[in-house]
């Protein structure tokens, strides 16, 4: 394996040539060899979106030249598309701010942009990981922003459509079974008659309410911390950076992201995600209690593969 020398404020370190990541990611791999849980792909994608939006905003504000924006955008697009996933090897069990993963994204985008420009990886020229890719940002506002982008994308693009599909199937079964009289049971005992369709209509409604609850938590997730920088004051960012970058992120994702009205809250707390996970937990209770009916020992349904 061939290596190159990468440098950061702590000095020099060897990095395998086949990887785009730099000194800080290499140090993280040495010092945080903990567990097998890697930073999720969804967070890496979200960082790609965020870095592209930040570069576009910086360029519009006259803080980043167009040729640098083009290089950063091209590298960020590859991150978004998942082409550079193997260059994001860091553990979940790292700094609690996610700084090492933010730097991982800065380093990969920097080195890939340098490669596109025909430069020397690790030289930080023409694209510097901190001064260019991380311009107007801090890990403390980028990582929580990436958390919200990833959470919203996964809920809207993955979970909600699949809940809708399951709901549609149950609705079809409720109609199909509407004339079948069955024993209604309470306290694990026979109670009074009902139809099998009625029982299934309850499942449909549980899913509908689960979907509604998820939609209820989304506005909090659509608020982004970006622009708060290190502690929420916005130090070293243009006054218009927060609002403008949120607009760009909304455009890139097709989701209605906005700049959080108070950045101190969005760095110090994750109440919106705690609230949102409550909605996920409610869906889990629906799944736990009722839908897996075929496992009851009074089997009155057969579960057959298609």
């Amino acid at each position: 394996m061939s290596f190159r020398i990468e440098k950061d404020t702590m000095g020099e370190i060897q990095v395998p040539n086949e990887y785009y990541y730099g000194a800080q990611s290499a140090r993280s791999l040495i010092h945080f060899e903990i567990g097998i849980e890697k930073m999720p792909r969804e967070i890496i994608r979200a960082l790609g979106i965020l870095k592209k939006a930040a570069a576009m905003t910086n360029c519009e504000l006259g803080l980043l030249p167009q040729e640098k924006l083009d290089l950063i955008s091209q590298a960020a697009d590859e991150v978004i598309a998942g082409k550079l996933d193997k260059h994001f090897p860091l553990s979940i069990w790292q700094t609690g701010s996610g700084t090492q993963t933010n730097m991982n994204s800065n380093e990969v985008i920097s080195n890939r942009a340098i490669e596109i420009a025909g430069g020397e990886m690790g030289s930080k020229k023409p694209i510097h990981p901190n001064d260019d890719v991380n311009k107007s940002q801090s890990s403390n506002d980028t990582f929580p922003t990436a958390m919200h982008i990833a959470a919203a994308e996964q809920i809207v693009n993955l979970l909600l459509p699949r809940l809708d599909n399951l709901k549609a199937t149950f609705a079809q079964k409720a109609e199909e079974f509407k004339d079948i009289i069955k024993v209604g049971r309470t306290h694990l005992q026979d109670a009074v008659p009902m139809t099998l369709g009625q029982e299934f209509s309850g499942y449909v409604q549980q899913l509908e309410m689960g979907i509604q609850r998820l939609k209820l938590v989304l506005p909090g997730i659509y608020e982004l911390a970006l622009g708060g920088t290190a502690v929420g004051t916005g130090l070293n960012a243009h006054p218009k950076f927060a609002e403008m970058s949120a607009v760009k992120i909304a455009e890139l994702t097709g989701l209605p992201f906005v700049s959080a009205p108070n950045k101190f809250e969005s760095l110090a707390a994750h109440d919106a995600l705690v609230f949102a996970h409550g909605a996920l937990k409610a869906i889990a209770t629906s799944f736990m209690v009722n839908f897996p009916f075929p496992k009851t020992n009074q089997v009155h349904l057969l579960c057959r593969a298609k």
């Binding site: 609690g96 958390m147 809940l163 599909n165 705690v274 937990k281 869906i283 209770t285 009916f293 593969a305």
Partner: protein, 144 residues
Amino acid sequence: MPGKVNPTQSEAMTMVAVQVMANDVAVNMAGASGNFELNVFKPVLIYNFLQSVRLLADTSNMFNEHCAVGIEAEREKIDYYVHNTLMLVTALNPHIGYDNAAKIAKYAHKNKLTLKAAALELGLLTEEEFAKYVRPETMTSPNM
């Protein structure tokens, strides 16, 4: 047992539910553990959060495709249960009163009789009356 078909999708789905509930504890503790200007439990929070979303989405998909769409009612078994249970006695409440209905249910249970046989033995109803009042299909919606 050879040929046995187990409710495997249900088991996977309920295991996912357990994991999501466990993740909720991690998300709660991570959310509650910030210091001063910065919450520093971000990676563990989002790791658990995204796992919950992914697992719920995937198990919904698998349960739907490989179980829910193929669910068929075991009509004969369901019907057998309906007609071999004491629950239908509830239909008699408006006609002979709660206390008499309970008497029939307890008598049937004690002597291993059907409701009809118990009602006739106790002389509380005629066969015609029983057939008229005890019709499960009329008992699944408000009917006073």
